[in-house]
Amino acid sequence: MADWGFKVSQEGFDVKICDDKDLVVSSEFNMLKTSVVGTKTPAGVVAHGLAYTPVFFTMRPFATAGHYGLVGDDASYTDSTNLTTAVNNTKYYIFYQEFE
C-alpha cells in the first residue's frame, strides 16, 4: 500500500474510509493507458515500440461493414516487439500496461 495518490468514492461513501469496492476510481489500482490504436490492413505486423509485451485488445470484422466481434475473438498475438493480426481490417488497441 502506498501513501500517495488520488481516489474518488461513490455517492454516499466517505472516500477516506470506504472499501475499495465503493470507489469509482483510485490510483491504487492500475488502469489501462492506451499507447496505440489503429486498424491493420492487410493483416500482419504492427510494431508497438514498447520494450516489453503489452496488454492489447483486437477485434476482427464481420462480413458486414462496420461490424466487429468480441475482443480477443481472433488469432492475433503480441510479443515484446510486434502485434501480429490474423484477419484483414482488424482493429487493435495496445496499452502501456505490461503483461504480468
Binding site: M1, D3, V15, K16
Partner: protein, 170 residues
C-alpha cells in the same frame, strides 16, 4: 418788559495736539554729572519663522494625505473613524481587542480579532501569493490542508475526492 439777553460768541481755547508741545524724550542724566546722552534703543530681530519642514515633507504629506514615515503612537483606549449612520456611512473602530469595520448597511465587512488572530473579510482578498496552513473553501466543500498534505472535496454530504497523502490509502 422783559430784559433782553445779550448773546456772546463762545470762545474755544486752543488745545495742543497730544504730542504737540511736549519736549523730546531724552534720557535723564544722572544727577550731578550734567551730561545728557540720547537713549539708545537696541535693535530687536524679528522672530524667525519656523515651519515643521521635517514633519510636512518627509514624514507626513498633508497634500496627498499619506503617512510617509513610521510614527510612534502613544497608548489610547480606542479610535473610531467615521460615524455610523444607517444607509449613509459606515465606520471603523480600533480597540485593544481588534479592528471592526461596518458598511453603511451595518454589515461587518472587516473583523480582526486581536486576541485570537481570527480575521473575517466580507469582500475579496487579492494577493500575489498566499501562505496558509489550511484553506477551507465554502462550507467545507474543498479543504486544502498543508499539514496533512491533502485536498478533500465534499459533495455536500460526504467527502468524495481525496488527493494527496493518506497513509496506507493507496
Amino acid at each position: 418788559m422783559t430784559e433782553e439777553t445779550a448773546y456772546r460768541p463762545q470762545e474755544i481755547p486752543d488745545q495742543p495736539f497730544p504730542q504737540e508741545g511736549l519736549p523730546p524724550t531724552v534720557s535723564q542724566a544722572s544727577a550731578g554729572e550734567g551730561v545728557y546722552t540720547p537713549e539708545v534703543v537696541k535693535d530687536k530681530e524679528f522672530p524667525v519663522k519656523r515651519v515643521a519642514v521635517e514633519l510636512l515633507s518627509s514624514a507626513l504629506n498633508t497634500r496627498s494625505k499619506r503617512i510617509i514615515q513610521e510614527f510612534q503612537f502613544t497608548e489610547s483606549g480606542a479610535i473610531q473613524v467615521g460615524k455610523y449612520q444607517a444607509g449613509v456611512t459606515g465606520d471603523v473602530r480600533i480597540s485593544p481587542v481588534g479592528i471592526v469595520a461596518r458598511d453603511s448597511a451595518g454589515n461587518l465587512t472587516l473583523v480582526l480579532d486581536g486576541e485570537t488572530g481570527d480575521a473575517v473579510f466580507r469582500g475579496e482578498i487579492r494577493s500575489g501569493s498566499l501562505v496558509s496552513g489550511k484553506v477551507t473553501v465554502g462550507n467545507n466543500s474543498v479543504i486544502i490542508d498543508g499539514k496533512s498534505q491533502t485536498i478533500i472535496v465534499n459533495d455536500g454530504t460526504t467527502d468524495r475526492v481525496l488527493i494527496g497523502k493518506q497513509v496506507g490509502g493507496f
